[in-house]
Every structure is written in C-alpha cells, then in structure tokens.
Subunit: 394 residues, 2 copies
C-alpha cells in the first residue's frame, strides 16, 4: 500500500477547476471561471513580439535563465508598480513566478509550519486556501463587511493567538466578493500589523482594473517595516497563458522566496518573460488595460442591471467598482452547491461559495464572473439563473 | 521579528546557481552548469512554430488551460515514451509540469512528511535534494558503484527502516556521475521495490542522449504494480527556456500529483506547451536529438581524452556513455570547494561534489559538464584545471 504525505488528505481537486470541465460544453453560459476575455488578447501584436525575440535573442530565450527572472521585465514591473501603486521598488526586489498561484504557494511554504495560523478574509480566494493547505496550517477567518476586513476583529485575534505566521488579504476587488477595502481600513491595518509585526501577503491581481472611483493606496506602498509581500500578475492585465506573476518584497523576506523558488522550480519560463517584456516595449500596456476596463465595466453594469430586474428580493449581491467577480448571498436555507446542479440543467454555471470559507459553512453563497461572457450571454445567463433561484426559493 | 517556516533553515541558495553567477563572465570556461548547447537550439524553426500557433489558435494559446496540460502535447509525449522507452502509457497518465524541477518538487510533497525517509543514490542530483528538503525529510544515501545503486545495500535499508516513503533514482547517465544502471540491477531493483511496495521516482532527463551502447529499459517499463513515477523533460532534448517537463504515473499516484499541481501552480504555460507541440508536429525531434547526441558525444570524448593526457594519475573519473556530466574524484585530502576558488583565478569552473551528498562528506569530488563548451574551450579548460590540480596535489 502506497503511503502518501499527510497533507494529501486535505487536498482535493479544486472545485472550480472540476466545475470548469463540466462547463466547457459550448451550450453552457458559464459565470464560474475567472477567465479574462480572450477576444481582448493582443494576439497579432504578441506574434510580432515573439518574432522579434526569436530574431534578436532566440538562443537566450530558449535557454535557462536566472531564478530572479529576466531583468528587462523586472525593470518594467518595478516602474509600473511605482506608477500605478506608488510602491517604491526596483528590479532587485522583484522575483518572477510561474503565475501568481506559484507566489501563493511559495508564501505558504516560506511562512507556515504545520498547525501555524494563517489569517484571511472571510470569504477568501479558494486557490490561495488550497495552496496554503499543503502546509497543513489552521485558518482563522477574519470577519468582513462592505469596507473589507473588520479591523477590530483582526486585532482581537492577534492579541489572543501567538501562532499567527501570516495574514493573506486581497484589498482590491477581492476574489470572491469584489469588495475593496476603504482607505481608513488600510491605514488601520498597517498600524495593527506594525504593532504585531506579522507578515502580510497582499494579493493584487485586479488592482488596475478599476472601472470607477479613485484608486486607493496598495498596502505595500504604506509598508514602513518590510512586512508586506505584494503579489502581482500579468494574467488579468495581459494574458494568463504565459504564466507570469511576481513577488515584490523587502530583502529579508525576498531572500527566502528566492531560496524556495530555486528549490521548487528553478525559474519562470524564459521565453514567456522575454516575449512579455518585448511586447511591453513594443506596444502600450496602459492603453490595453484601458480597453479591458471598458469592456469589463460594461459587463459588470449589465450583469447587475439584469440581476436587479430578474432576481427575487431575498437575494443580495455585491456591486464591485472593478475586478472580475461579484458575490451573491441566497436565503440561508438554500445550498448553492445543490442549486448549481439545477443550474447546469438550465445550461448556466457559477462557483458555489462554500469553498471560499476554509472552515466551512456559508453554503448559501456563490461567486459570479462577468469578464468572459458576451453581453448577450450575460443577460440570458442571469435570466436562466433567476429562473432556477425563483424555483428554489420557498 | 519575522518568523519563517522551519523548512527555511535547511534551504540555502543552490550552490550551482550561485556559482553560475560567478561563472557568467565571458573569460571563464565553465564546466559548472548543466546547460544544453544553445547553438543547437532550433531557433528559426521555433519562430515558425510560434507564428503558426498564434495564427491558428492565438487566443487559446494566451488563455488558461487545464492542469493536466495541452492534449496534443501529452499525446506526443505518450507516443514518444512508448517508442523510446517501451513504456505503455497514454495522455491520461501524463501531467505537464513547469520543468522537471517542478516534478521533483511535487514528488517530495506528495510523499514526504517531516522526518520521513527518502532513499537516493550516493551521490545524487542536488536539485532533487533541495526540492525534497522543503519537506524536512531524512535522507539515506544508498551506496553505488560503476553499475549504479548497489541492490544488496538497498535491501538492507528497506528491511530495517519503516519510514521509507520514496526512492529517488536516475538510472540513465546519472547527475552528477554520468553512470548508468546495468540491466541486471534494474530487474533486481524492481523485485525489491515490488516486495516492499515503495514508490520510486525515476528521473530521466538524459535517457535519450546515449552516444554508444545499447538502450536499457526504463524502470517504468518494468513496473507491474504502479509504483514507478517517471519524470521526463524537454530541457535536454529540445530547450529548457519553455520550462516543460512531465510526470507519467498510474492513476492512484497521478491523481495526487494533479491535486498538488492545482494547489501549487494551476498549470504549465499554455503558450510553451502549444509552441512545443506545434514544433514537434512541424519538424523532426528524432533528427534533432541525433544532432545533439553527435555533438555531445564528441565533446565527451574530447574531455576524457584531454583528462587522460593532462590529469595526474591520482585523479579518477567516470567515462559516461551518454548524458551531460562526468564525475571526478581527487585524493581524499583535497577539498574541491576550496580548489574551485583557485580554479576561478585560472578562469575555469566546476561544481564541487559535496552538495550532491545530502548527509555531507565527500569533499574531494566534483562534477564536470561537457555539453555547453566548444571543443576548443574543453581542451583549454581541462588544461587549466589540470594545472590547478597538479599544484594542489602533495
């Protein structure tokens, strides 16, 4: 009998990815994934960038490169973090990863021993929860409201628990709720973590995708003690197929991430990095992000308008100012995982919310993605969903 | 004070990668890395393949894809494993990874709890040792000789130790020694592991690069109980910059790897996978491997001939039939790590052997790579090395 590591008992296949397989049929209108809209990918331009890389430096692009990552790309990222988030950094404080998921994985492994505590928003991103689970930690969910994590609750936990090794947060257009922390909470949060000196993983895949309202400072831009680890990614502002994310952190912490990266994967894809850097040099990432924002913003508005018209009043939902997701709360007696099966019969899909709560419960919730369906399908899909909800409500 | 996970105490930066930074200066003749020869990369052809992918399926290439990996590529790999290694498998039993290093990382995490035992050849690949260390296991080194792992020693350990959770081996052109297990040892090995039912990680990055002699069956081809996990990679037969490796295993084990992959990284790069698959469909991988073998074989012969002429008789070394590396043993009183500094002064580099022994010792050894230096540099580099060795020998 083969004996596996005990961590494997906790890892089941991700509910999202299993569901995505079911929803791959063309007749299904899926709000389940977190896919960016493929019709916005700059395919033609990327073909040009790839050609330029192969002609100018093909051998280097196909060879091993450094663990830290391709220098030109790290320069571009450092500049962008400065320009977009007011984070004063430089290429020496950036580590490239194979997608942001790998940054989440490294985060757990750098900080967490078995039974250590990780704090996170309730609910939180299920991909992060799964990554952290490989270290068999305990999760404490910090209550949240419309303004994000509730700081009084956070402080209560930190005052009581000694084994909190890290805090994982998504302050901008959170996955799964779409919520954004208020400015006041951000400052309060930094006060608290400076007092307790707990490392923070600030996951920021969606921050640039604000449709309206003012940009709020990244936690990392307020970090005076080197406690915040910022995770960024090209998946939502350019394309996910290259698997490129990054970690930005101060020396002490980044050294550990580098050691972990050497042990776990050596480096991110050289060719992905060089093609992406070349594209950024040849074309206009800012203009591209503007285009994405316009499309997603319109889809978000349409989804919410259709929900307002179609959903019964017992159902509530968030109205995000950016990002890819919104969050639906059903009456407590409805199990969204069960209802998902009825929805599949109607050829519409979402992600049941239970998996976003590491300690369980909250089965009456689900996550909706509005970035990758056409406007027509958004209207039709929400109508189908409303029909099933109405039939399920007592 | 920031508290890191206890595993971080064991992870230092890889000696190889740190050394590679020192040896990046153009005046240095480096036998330290494990780089394939970049002048053999099919740059022009890969440019064509990339163009074809972007024109035929650009949106899909830039999008997320499945954890298992791009189907066409898994088909090609399954066919190849059948043809080259007589391993009867299919695409459903292949999982794509971001380089073989990620397969090593997943292996450790799937099988090893803290203080579990992993068995490996003495010496063994330092990248694997580092990956496994993230799980804080104990290492037991199984003695080896010219024919590979010594089976009597392996059985003695298995009879005594209950916590052996996996055995890590490189039966073909091992890294670092260049040794290949005899046919007899392979059969004996399978008998033993079938008796004890211990999972085996068969790491096979170099198997196709045989310069002479007969191909010997892969352990996976002899596996009747689903105990062997085969790790393959495109890094040495095509190019490492795409970061593409694969895991081939039977259902029970592969399911666990899939769960780990979902948690740790979601998937390997879509674009890397599609471009590689397209290149294999458009061009001739077999012919390409023949070309590589011819060049590396010649370099190996030249390195050994030069060593024979230049090295003093107190120094011994392996004479591999394939792969990228050979292994040098100095008189016991010489510390190869110290001598490496003298060599750097002479602008020649190797990897000191100590790091390939997880339990220490054996400082009088080093690893030489012959794949990525020109013939001229091989001769000149070995001469420089011989000069330092002669000056160091008492």
């Amino acid at each position: 009998m083969i004996r596996f590591a005990s961590r494997m008992d906790q890892l089941k296949g991700s509910e999202i990815r299993e569901l995505l397989k079911l929803t791959a049929k063309p007749e299904i209108i899926s709000f389940a994934g977190g896919l960016p809209a493929p019709e916005l990918f700059p395919v033609k331009e990327m073909e040009e960038a790839a050609k330029a890389v192969m002609e100018e430096a093909g051998q280097a692009a196909m060879q091993y490169s450094s663990t830290e990552g391709f220098l030109r790309l790290r320069e571009q990222i450092a500049e962008r973090m400065n320009a977009k988030y007011n984070i004063k950094t430089d290429p020496d404080h950036i580590l490239m990863t194979s997608g942001s998921q790998q940054g989440l994985d490294y985060s757990g492994r750098v900080f967490l021993d078995k039974d250590d505590i990780v704090l996170l928003e309730s609910p939180s991103y299920l991909g992060a929860i799964n990554a952290f689970k490989t270290n068999e930690p305990r999760f404490i969910e910090v209550p949240t409201d419309e303004g994000g994590m509730i700081m009084e609750e956070l402080e209560k936990i930190l005052a009581k628990e000694d084994r909190v090794k890290m805090i994982y947060v998504i302050p901008d257009f959170q996955n799964p709720t779409g919520r954004t922390w208020s400015l006041d909470r951000r400052h309060k949060f930094m006060e608290i973590i400076n007092k307790y000196e707990v490392p923070v993983i600030e996951d920021n895949p969606y921050g640039e995708l604000r449709f309206e309202g003012e940009y709020l400072p990244a936690l990392k831009s307020l970090d005076t003690k080197g406690l915040v680890v910022f995770l960024g990614t090209f998946s939502k502002i350019l394309a996910p197929g290259y698997r490129l994310g990054w970690v930005c952190a101060d020396d002490e912490i980044l050294d550990k991430y580098n050691c972990m990266a050497q042990a776990a994967a050596l480096q991110a894809s050289t060719i992905s990095q060089m093609e992406t850097a070349k594209w950024i040099d040849m074309f206009d990432l800012d203009a591209h992000v503007e285009k994405i924002k316009k499309v997603y913003g319109k889809r978000r508005t349409l989804m919410i308008e259709t929900m307002k018209a179609e959903f019964p009043p017992e159902v509530t939902y968030t109205e995000p100012d950016g990002g890819l997701f919104l969050w639906v709360v059903l009456p407590e007696y409805i199990d969204a995982a069960e209802m998902a099966l009825d929805c599949l019969k109607e050829n519409v899909a979402y992600v049941p919310g239970g998996s976003f709560f590491p300690n369980g419960g909250n089965k009456n919730t689900f996550r909706m993605n509005y970035s990758c369906m056409t406007e027509e399908k958004i209207v039709e899909g929400v109508k189908r969903l409303a029909k099933v909800i109405k039939a399920t409500i007592k």
